[in-house]
């Protein structure tokens, strides 16, 4: 493994464009990794909200309180990362903790107590309970919206998946970058692949893919469903066969242990070429009649 360039390297104007773009990408990834668990849980939570809560709150006959509760759920989801981030900003770094261990800050009083309700724990409470309770209120006020007659089965299943992802993301701690990981990196030569893709193979495979895809454009205007399915099946099978043949030809170029002589190759393929010539000749004969 090699040492990765830090974000500072990306600001060097003399660095090549590829290095600068890689550094920018690293900065973005590092910012994303610094997001807390509540921010990561907010994405599936918003998905679950849009599928299961919002349609119920804005269904016909739902009271205004249900809409307000639904909006409160969204606010709980979206403001939880702020609560979590405020906690991180409030807690001083470790060196400062050691230096000011003797002089502890005074306990907040009155409304200032609210500023102490920050950090991952409070963010999780705000996110999970705020969202779940508001959703429960919506469903209680508009129970008919979740009946099987009005809720589509696929949408309901997707909502279950959304809620499961929200629960999973809320339960697990967010993955953060290990500050000591950089010290464990051993600088050395870059890793070499065990084998390299031979030059030209990609062209063969790409040609096979193009041919196979071109076949899929045939027969889309067939009116009879049975015939349309048959055409689709045949074109898919033919495409797979062509792709397999081009791959075989590409692979055959690299087997050099026992190269077949030109005479052997011709003798081996001669029956097939003869059958092909026979078919073509019979086809031409039938057309000319």
């Amino acid at each position: 493994m090699t040492n990765r360039p830090g974000p500072a390297a990306g600001t060097d104007p003399a660095a090549p464009a590829s290095v600068r773009s890689r550094s920018r990408r690293n900065v973005v990834l590092s910012r994303l990794s610094e997001l807390g668990a509540s921010a990561q849980a907010a994405i599936p939570g918003l998905y679950a909200w849009s599928i299961t809560v919002a349609p119920a709150a804005w269904s016909r006959g739902a009271p205004t309180v249900a809409k307000v509760a639904a909006i409160a759920g969204v606010i709980a989801l979206t403001t939880a990362p702020l609560v979590e981030g405020a906690g991180f900003r409030r807690s001083p770094p470790a060196e400062a903790n050691e230096a000011s261990a003797a002089a502890a800050p005074p306990q907040p009083k009155g409304l200032a107590v609210l500023s102490a309700w920050t950090g991952p724990t409070w963010a999780r409470i705000w996110s999970v309970w705020g969202f779940v309770l508001s959703s429960a209120i919506v469903w209680t006020l508009a129970p008919s919206a979740l009946s099987s007659a009005r809720l589509d089965g696929v949408r309901g299943a997707l909502g279950v998946v959304g809620w499961a992802l929200f629960a999973f993301a809320s339960a697990g701690p967010s993955l953060r970058a290990d500050p000591e990981a950089a010290g464990r990196i051993i600088a050395g030569s870059s890793l070499k692949p065990r084998s390299e893709l031979p030059r030209g193979d990609g062209v063969y495979v790409a040609a096979g893919v193009v041919l196979a895809l071109a076949m899929q454009g045939v027969g889309w205007g067939v009116a009879a469903p049975e015939r349309a399915v048959l055409v689709r099946l045949v074109t898919v099978v033919c495409g797979v066969a062509v792709l397999g043949a081009t791959t075989s030809i590409a692979l055959a170029r690299h087997v050099t242990r026992f190269p077949a002589s030109r005479r052997l190759r011709l003798r081996r393929s001669l029956p097939w070429i003869a059958i092909l010539a026979l078919f073509l000749a019979s086809g031409l004969f039938l057309i000319s009649r």
Partner: protein
């Protein structure tokens, strides 16, 4: 690239064309013509692969 490799590539291209003609014939409900082109495609494909196959066995 040898001459046989070019012939193999031409056979594979011809097979793809035959498959396409077969599918078009199938879409027109012309089954005999479709079977003819599909069989021609299979044979051309097989011949192309046999042409480039290495090894000493026949």
């Amino acid at each position: 690239m040898q001459l046989l490799d070019l012939l193999a590539a031409a056979l594979v291209l011809g097979a793809a064309a035959a498959f396409t003609f077969g599918a078009l014939a199938l879409a027109r409900a012309n089954d005999v013509e479709a079977i003819y082109f599909l069989v021609v495609g299979v044979v051309a494909l097989r011949a192309g692969v046999q042409l480039v196959r290495p090894g000493a066995n026949a």
